[in-house]
């Protein structure tokens, strides 16, 4: 194949543009460093708060705005987390369902179907879901740096953008807003490519309470 050759004026122009970019980058560097320091400080702060929390439970409201739905859909539910690897995500209305992660295994239940046990190794969808949930509920914010670009947005918010191409197909950004005093996640906003979005607001946090094991072994805990 014949290689593309540029004429001399074009090459000169390209060289000039390159020079300008290098110049611009070198002037931006100090600003980025300042932002980076602020981000690091914020991360340290929420990490310190998170390290104090072994478990928590909370009620939540999820609002999904999808192009598929005529109107935003609101779900109510509760969340219980025992770090490092147990999580119960329960919708109470309008369609009750439960999702439990316990180590490498899990259970999912829908209202009128028998419970389905799954293994994260053999269920790629649930593995992805678990990875995402633990990412913003696991409390290990230092891990985020490896997988996401992070930016502090506002006094108590963190906006993260996925680096992996496979994840960018589903998620544009995730903004996590932390409670100003407890420094626990208060609101998670997920923006998807194409304009769909999800906002989950957590309330009534209970930290480090005794959490019964049964929450992570069966779906219906009333029985």
């Amino acid at each position: 194949m014949e290689s593309v050759r540029f004429s001399t004026p074009v090459r000169r122009l390209a060289a000039s543009v390159l020079f300008c970019i290098v110049l611009a980058l070198s002037s931006v560097q100090p600003v980025l460093s300042a932002e980076s320091e602020e981000l690091q400080s914020f991360l340290n702060e929420i990490q310190a708060a998170s390290d104090e929390v072994r478990s928590f439970s909370s009620a939540f409201v999820q609002e999904r705005k999808l192009a598929l739905f005529n109107e935003p859909v609101i779900f109510h539910g509760s969340l219980t987390v025992v770090r490092p690897d147990r999580l119960r995500w329960e919708f109470t209305s309008p369609v009750p369902s439960v999702l439990i992660f316990s180590g490498e295994r899990g259970i999912r239940c829908n209202a009128d179907a028998p419970p389905v046990n799954f293994d994260l190794g053999s269920d790629p969808i649930m593995r992805t879901v678990a990875e995402q949930l633990w990412l913003w509920l696991g409390g290990d914010y230092s891990r985020l740096e490896f997988l996401y670009h992070m930016e502090k947005s506002g006094p108590s918010s963190l906006t993260i953008t996925p680096k992996e191409e496979a994840v960018t197909k589903f998620i544009s950004t995730i903004t996590i807003t932390f409670n100003k005093t407890s420094r626990q996640p208060e609101k998670v906003e997920i923006a998807e490519p194409g304009g769909d979005s999800t906002v989950i607001s957590f309330q009534s946090y209970v930290l480090n309470s005794n959490t019964p094991d049964v929450l992570f072994t069966v779906c219906g805990t009333d029985e």
Partner: protein, 797 residues
């Protein structure tokens, strides 16, 4: 004999040896276990399995090592990493044509992507019934409710597009077909690895590029496996192997270990025997003469069989040892003669029984050439040439070394030996003999022909433990059949493979492994497409209205499922085998589909395999199906067993009958006297009766080793009878009696030590000869003379 004549005789023998070596130079040795199998059909079946790669496949279980039943504390990641590394090292060795340690990363998503555009081509009649329920008003409502819940669940973000394309879960119908790709083994796929339910083991499958029934190749593969395991497995993790490899190695080692001990023992005992009997160092030449014939026999055999089975060569040379009888009889006749004149007379007397002994033994080997086992045919030809040349060598060489003995000493020896041939109470001897014959005749019909190819297999304790561990970890262990579809093209083989799948469904087979429902042939695809189009032509209009109503009620927009309806309206993409085979399940397909190398124009070179757990009823149906359908072959151990048993029975009956008739005819021709014929054949009948009684008492089974050794014992026994009867009739009994005793004792030592072998094949061989010759020798010494004198007024001797 002059010195020149003696030198000339030796020169002729050495020239013949040189010619033998010249012709043997291109001989190739084969260690192919298939040469041990009877019948082209059985061998053909097993060769198909080998083409499919099953014979050379290894199943490697990578597990946490156990100490006193407690597994090492090894994590899942370490186990999977060790399995991955082991797989990479085996693949990098270049000695494996196929290594499967895991499915490719992200295979689940790729699978949906590759199946979805062609989904309608996978749906058969059964799926249409399920589809009918899915598009009913209730089905639509349920499907949309599930989709609604899924979209709002934490998984909703990742599955949004999938829900838009498939709101009712039609793909799940195709994914259930994926379960049929799983083997009988109880595996769960974890991160693409094949894990056991307890999470303590990983399965790796590898296929050797060379034949694992070849012991040299098996040893090479074992070395590669050992090196790779020590490099790949982290501490606390071990690998165990099942398949043909450990069996080949265990058998090879067992035979080597047996022969390492037993051959030197037999050699020392034989040398001692001959030295004791002859009290002369020349005895070693007498024993060695048959082996001078070996190069010529091997050279001539190689002109007929370019490739000789190692087993045939080994046992052929052992059979050649029979020819030592000629040297012994000749030598004894010569050393017991007095002076040159008497030597000629002695030679004349011994030549006649030697000729008939050669004819009878040779005839037995000619009969054995009609066996259906290739190694038996090769063995028989080698032994036939061997005894011919050995007899010739004996005639040339023995007179040059036999010394002339002092007269007095000879007489003393003669008196001692001849007394044996003087039965005091022939009636009593014959009565005992008759009892043995009756017992033999009674036990014969009760013997069972064991055609199980595993009867001659000797797995050691480690192999048994590894197989037990494998079954405990992965399950399985059901009796299985392999159904192979053959074809000249991929389309043809896929169509045939799909017909097999349909047949198994119709028969209600519960456990089978097939890729046919995921990759049907063109004919099935066309039929499925027709069914799909007819279905929607009848239902689409009503479905669209019902679906729109239910979707709106559930809160979905009008356009929410536009991709689904666009897909329904599109022509499905044909399932391209080439693309599919390069897809995420390619490693699994590779183990079940054999595509020939480019340029291979062999007929029926494409193979597709289905495995099924069978019972007698299903196997009978499958064998009928095999007969009826072109390009389908059912392979099962039960089928081979029945076939081998049939062939073995045929060989035992026809070959024994033919050998018996021929030697009887030769004996009649020789003696032309009923009493003498009966006396000459008595050792044969005794040997057969004794072997029959022995087999009855020890398991009531006959296998292929009994056949070959049984025929050999017939050949040897009749020689004893001929020598004794000739001696009795001619009146010079001393040398033949000594000869028969010596030959029988040497045979008993040579083969009898094999009775102590651990390997079942060698053991069966040793025991058969021990019992047969052990009975025929005393019969020749006591019963044959008794038959000659029983009822006569003046007894011989």
């Amino acid at each position: 004999m002059s010195r020149t004549a003696a030198i000339l005789r030796w020169l002729i023998v050495f020239c013949a040896i040189g010619v033998g070596f010249f012709f043997s130079r291109d001989l190739r040795l084969s260690d192919d276990a298939f040469d041990l199998l009877p019948g082209e059909a059985v061998r053909g079946d097993l060769r198909m399995l080998q083409r499919m790669g099953l014979v050379d496949r290894l199943y490697i279980t990578v597990s946490a090592s156990q100490a006193e039943g407690v597994p090492s504390p090894v994590g899942k990641n370490a186990l999977q990493e060790s399995t991955r590394k082991l797989g990479e090292l085996l693949a990098a060795s270049g000695q494996f044509s196929y290594v499967l340690s895991r499915l490719p990363e992200g295979y689940e998503f790729s699978l949906f992507g590759s199946l979805q555009p062609s989904l309608p081509l996978l749906f058969d009649d059964g799926d249409m019934a399920a589809l009918d329920a899915m598009i009913s008003p209730e089905g639509i409502k349920n499907g949309l409710q599930k989709s609604f819940a899924l979209l709002n669940s934490p998984a909703g973000i990742a599955l949004k597009k999938q829900v838009q394309f498939d709101p009712l879960g039609l793909t799940s119908l195709a994914l259930t077909k994926l379960n049929l790709m799983r083997s009988e083994f109880s595996v769960q796929i974890d991160e693409g690895f094949f894990m056991s339910k307890d999470g303590l083991s990983c399965l790796l499958v590898a296929q050797s590029a060379g034949s694992l029934t070849d012991s040299a190749k098996a040893k090479e593969i074992e070395r590669i496996l050992t090196d790779a395991s020590s490099a790949a497995l982290t501490p606390g993790i071990e690998a165990s192997v099942i398949g043909s490899l450990p069996h080949t190695l265990a058998n090879s080692r067992s035979i080597e270990a047996d022969l390492r001990v037993l051959l030197p023992v037999a050699t020392v005992l034989l040398i001692l025997l001959f030295l004791f009997a002859f009290r002369d160092i020349r005895a070693l030449v007498v024993v060695g003469v048959p082996y001078l014939a070996a190069p010529m026999a091997i050279g001539l055999t190689s002109l007929f069989h370019g490739k000789l089975s190692g087993l045939a060569l080994g046992f052929g040379i052992v059979l050649l040892g029979i020819a030592v009888d000629f040297s012994v009889h000749l030598y004894l006749a010569l050393i017991e003669s007095e002076g040159e004149g008497d030597r000629r007379g002695a030679l004349k007397k011994v030549v006649r029984p030697m000729l008939y002994a050669f004819l009878t033994t040779g005839s037995v080997f000619i009969v054995l050439m009609f066996s259906q086992v290739p190694s038996h045919q090769q063995m028989a030809l080698l032994a036939f040439f061997g005894i011919f040349f050995a007899a010739a060598c004996a005639c040339l060489v023995i007179p040059t070394i036999a010394p002339i003995r002092p007269k007095k000493r000879l007489k003393a020896a003669k008196i001692k030996w001849v007394s044996l041939l003087t039965p005091k109470r022939p009636g009593l001897v014959l009565l005992v003999w008759l009892v043995v014959l009756v017992l033999g005749a009674m036990s014969w019909p009760r013997l069972h022909y064991n055609g199980d190819l595993r009867a001659l297999d000797v797995p050691d304790a480690q192999v048994k433990e590894d197989e037990r561990h494998f079954t405990a970890t992965w399950g399985g262990g059901d009796e299985q059949a392999f159904i192979l579809a053959e074809g000249d093209s991929l389309d043809e083989v896929l169509d045939r493979n799909y017909r097999v799948y349909r047949y198994l469904k119709e028969q209600g087979a519960a456990k089978f492994q097939s890729f046919a429902p995921l990759l049907p042939g063109p004919a099935a695809q066309a039929k499925n497409l027709e069914g799909w189009q007819q279905f929607w032509a009848a239902h689409l209009h009503a479905f669209e209205a019902q679906f729109a109503e239910a979707a709106t009620a559930r809160g979905f927009t009008d356009k929410a499922f536009a991709p689904f309806f666009a897909w329904l309206g599109d022509e499905p993409q044909p399932l391209s085998p080439e693309n599919f085979l390069g897809g995420p399940l390619q490693p699994l397909f590779s183990s079940m589909l054999k595509i020939p190398a480019e340029g291979d124009t062999t007929k029926n070179s494409y193979l597709a395999m289905t495995t099924v757990a069978i019972d007698d009823q299903l196997l009978a149906g499958l064998l009928e199906y095999d007969d009826k359908e072109t390009g389908i072959t059912v392979l099962a151990n039960k089928k081979w067993r029945a076939e081998v048993e049939r062939l073995l029975r045929h060989d035992v009956v026809t070959l024994s009958l033919a050998a018996g008739l021929i030697i009887a005819l030769l004996v009649v021709l020789e003696f032309r006297n009923g009493r003498a014929v009966a006396a000459a054949l008595a050792p044969v009948i005794s040997a057969l009766a004794a072997m029959s009684i022995f087999c009855y008492l020890t398991g009531r089974q006959l296998n292929m080793m009994h056949l070959i050794m049984g025929v050999m014992v017939i050949g040897l026994s009749v020689d004893y009878g001929i020598f004794i009867v000739c001696a009795k009739l001619s009146g010079s009994e001393s040398a033949p009696v000594r000869g028969v005793s010596l030959c029988a004792t040497s045979t008993l030592i040579g083969f009898g030590v094999l009775a102590f072998a651990h390997h079942p094949a060698l053991h069966a061989l040793g025991m058969t000869v021990l019992v047969g010759i052990g009975m025929s020798c005393p019969t020749a010494l006591f019963v044959s003379p008794a038959l000659l004198v029983f009822g006569k007024k003046d007894t011989l001797g």
